[in-house]
């Protein structure tokens, strides 16, 4: 709310309307503010405001969530009610309401309008989709409609700007005259009131609309003969999902590589321009490497949201929910949970935020609790690194890539775990009767480019914000954990012989030490790694062992030993509690890849392959890699997600429950993988 532009003159106008009525498109058009379109459950979760000029007076325009009614119990409706009654802190009661009404769906849209009348605030109806309506050979008498509603009605077309000026005038007049609507709808009980409203609406519509061809099947119904067909519909849905995944996993590679190189160069440039010291190390190794390592995933997120926005904007996502609802309801979830869960494949944070319009609290919590089990894009570098290091180039049956099979297996494992957890939750602590399912299948519409881009960038913005705040803070903390305490260079030769001798903390040396090797978080391939003299490597290794992070790694080693992990992997696990992808950069720090720019050397991959324990045995095997992947599928290693879950459930107990069950699940599955693999003879 603090981010909302405040109108100087203090005029506040609320924009209300049914989902899919074109409300957010109108909002964008009136304010020009970047804003996403409400078109599917879960998109308009935040109340947004922009500045809209009423003549010369700037007014604050508040975009309410899409609503069918104001009298039921969903979170969106409660928020909307609170806005309209002025009960939201820092938001004055609106001076007027612009009610967006879809002409092609007049009766149901007007139902909300009759409820808006009850708030004692002047209402102006903005009639959208007139062009579509008239194409369907209907006619509407706008003057008559306005007379009957005793309310100004303005035809608007947000796409070409038609009617915007008239809307401004009507709203200005409505505020000046302070007109209140005279209607009251009292029919006794709840049902009676609904009847009273609809009887009034039927009258109004009958007198103002001329249906020439009421029975014409609309084009959406024809499209749905294929798209929601019980066989073709499912085939097409699967094809679309495959396309989306193809885009995320292969088309995103090029921009990701470019970003990776960009951050690498930025780090190198900063280092070359600054004198050596803690500040430079912090900037290059802590901030640029940490935040850069997260921003690398931006192309994937943009692509996913591009697809989701198109699917939403066209009306297809509701069909997908229709097709999948039965499957979702078998594990006790709502068809609407499909979108949040699908979003969670990119990132659980927008996914969890998208659960807001699942009305039933239990359904919503169940969806939130399993969303982080979907393999998000931050797990990808972990899977990719492990596959590249231990399974690259191997095939099954001679032609199926083992890497691809493992990747698919990891995604499937997350989905299966989510299904089992949801199943259990809905039969135990979240037990409830089958949830109601009432979902509009909106008419198919051509996607609007501006809407899609706005939607995409708004959501990407959420991700960038996360990188700029939580991840930044955690990057600095983690950098410090590995940077301090510093070693004195003179002690190195002595300590080199007594392996564990250098455990006690030593004052900072001030010079580069370990951290010069940690530049810019190499991800996996093509990163030229550089060899350093043995003594240097040992010194760095000791520095890490001595650091607070190293000590933490040693501390948890007994716990993770049954999973085949040593203390160095422990350090990486601790670091990646901040965000999963941090595992890769932490491993490159731990394995000390890269230093002297002129020498050839091993990559992170071969560093991992060759890493040895103190007894000289190899740390990693394909089984260890597989175990680590399984652990990452199931573990709750993302502080940002934890923060979002806390906010969305408004409960620390649920949040901690989620962290707890995921950690237990991850540990148990990793334990079973490693120990089971050993029993089967894989070392």
């Amino acid at each position: 709310m603090d981010e909302q532009p405040r109108a100087k003159a203090g005029i506040t106008i609320a924009l209300a309307g049914n989902p899919n009525a074109g409300k957010t498109t109108l909002f964008n058009s009136l304010t020009g503010l970047k804003q996403k379109v409400a078109n599917y459950p879960g998109v308009t979760v935040e109340r947004r405001a922009g500045v809209w000029k009423i003549g010369t007076i700037p007014a604050s325009l508040i975009d309410l969530p899409g609503l069918y009614s104001l009298e039921t119990t969903s979170l969106d409706e409660k928020i909307a009610r609170d806005v309209l009654t002025g009960e939201i802190n820092g938001l004055p009661k609106p001076d007027a309401i612009v009610a967006v009404v879809d002409a092609t769906n007049l009766e149901r849209n007007l139902y909300l309008v009759t409820q808006l009348f009850d708030f004692g605030i002047p209402v102006v109806v903005a009639l959208t989709m007139i062009d579509v309506f008239e194409k369907q050979k209907h006619q509407i008498d706008v003057g008559k409609l306005s007379d009957l509603l005793k309310t100004p009605v303005v035809e608007v077309n947000a796409r070409n700007g038609r009617g915007k000026q008239q809307l401004v005038e009507s709203v200005g007049e409505a505020i000046d005259s302070g007109q209140r609507n005279p209607f009251s709808f009292n029919g006794g009980n709840v049902t009676g009131k609904i009847f009273a409203r609809y009887n009034f609406i039927s009258d109004v519509v009958q007198q103002s609309v001329l249906h020439n061809d009421l029975e014409a099947h609309d084009i959406s119904e024809k499209i749905d003969r294929v798209l929601t067909h019980r066989i073709f519909g499912l085939v097409i849905l699967i094809a679309i999902l495959l396309l989306v995944f193809q885009a995320i996993f292969s088309w995103a590679t090029l921009p990701m590589d470019l970003l990776e190189q960009g951050f690498g160069s930025m780090g190198a440039f900063v280092r070359s321009q600054m004198s050596e010291g803690i500040l430079t190390d912090l900037l290059v190794d802590g901030i640029i490497a940490g935040v850069g390592g997260v921003l690398i995933f931006l192309p994937q997120i943009l692509l996913l949201f591009l697809f989701i926005s198109i699917l939403e904007d066209t009306g297809y996502l509701a069909r997908a929910a229709f097709l999948l609802d039965k499957l979702m309801s078998r594990v006790g979830l709502h068809g609407k949970a499909f979108l949040p869960l699908m979003s969670s494949f990119a990132c659980a944070i927008p996914g969890i935020m998208a659960t807001r319009t699942i009305e039933n609290r239990r359904d919503r919590f169940a969806t939130i609790l399993i969303a982080p089990l979907m393999s998000c894009s931050a797990r990808l570098p972990v899977y990719t690194l492990m596959i590249a290091a231990f399974f690259a180039g191997q095939t099954i049956f001679g032609f199926v890539s083992l890497g691809a099979v493992l990747m698919l297996a990891m995604y499937s494992l997350g989905i299966i775990a989510a299904i089992i957890v949801a199943f259990v939750l809905k039969r135990t602590i979240l037990k409830a009767p089958p949830p109601p399912f009432i979902m509009e299948l909106p008419p198919y519409r051509l996607p609007n480019l501006r809407t899609i881009l706005q939607n995409m960038f708004t959501r990407a913005g959420l991700f960038v914000k996360r990188a700029g705040t939580v991840i930044l803070a955690i990057s600095i903390v983690l950098w410090a954990l590995m940077y301090f305490p510093r070693q004195v260079p003179g002690l190195e030769s002595q300590a080199a012989s007594g392996v564990e001798g250098a455990r006690e903390s030593v004052p900072p040396s001030g010079a580069g030490g370990l951290t010069q090797q940690t530049q810019a978080a190499p991800i996996f391939h093509d990163q030229r790694q550089l060899e350093t003299p043995n003594s240097e490597l040992e010194s760095n290794s000791r520095q890490l062992q001595n650091s607070y992070a190293g000590r933490l790694g040693h501390f948890i080693e007994p716990v993770i030993q049954p999973l085949g992990f040593d203390w160095k992997i422990g350090v990486a696990l601790i670091a990646s509690f901040a965000a999963r992808e941090v595992l890769v950069s932490t491993l490159s720090i731990i394995y000390n890849v890269g230093k002297d720019e002129n020498e050839e050397s091993e990559t992170l991959i071969s560093a991992i392959r060759n890493a040895k324990r103190e007894d000289g045995s190899l740390v990693w095997s394909p089984l260890t890699a597989l175990t680590l992947m399984v652990f990452f599928v199931l573990a709750m290693q993302c502080m940002s997600t934890v923060a979002v879950v806390r906010r969305e459930t408004n409960s620390w107990s649920w949040t901690l429950f989620m962290v707890g069950y995921m950690t237990v699940l991850a540990y148990a599955a990793a334990f079973a993988t490693y120990q089971g693999g050993r029993l089967l003879g894989f070392a």
Binding site: T72, R108, D224, K326, I438
Partner: protein, 73 residues
């Protein structure tokens, strides 16, 4: 008969909405109420939910909800 058993693609008239509580209220608020015309459009691929057409728009509801809607042809 209830809506679940109505023939697909045929217009019917709602005679009663029998449920109570939030779901029924939501159905009525979305226009599904006695006296109006309704059409069962199709059944989802796994037998549920169903798509119905009321007031000129399409709505997906589950059989549980459809069972509360009484119609006559």
């Amino acid at each position: 008969m209830n809506l679940t058993h109505a023939p697909a693609g045929v217009d019917a008239r709602i005679t009663a909405v029998n449920g109570e509580g939030g779901i029924t209220r939501r159905l009525m608020e979305m226009g599904v109420r006695p006296g109006i015309s309704v059409r069962l459009v199709k059944t989802g691929p796994f037998g549920d939910p169903i798509e119905i057409r009321v007031l000129g728009y399409s709505l997906a509801i589950r059989r549980n909800e459809a069972d509360t809607i009484e119609v006559e042809l």
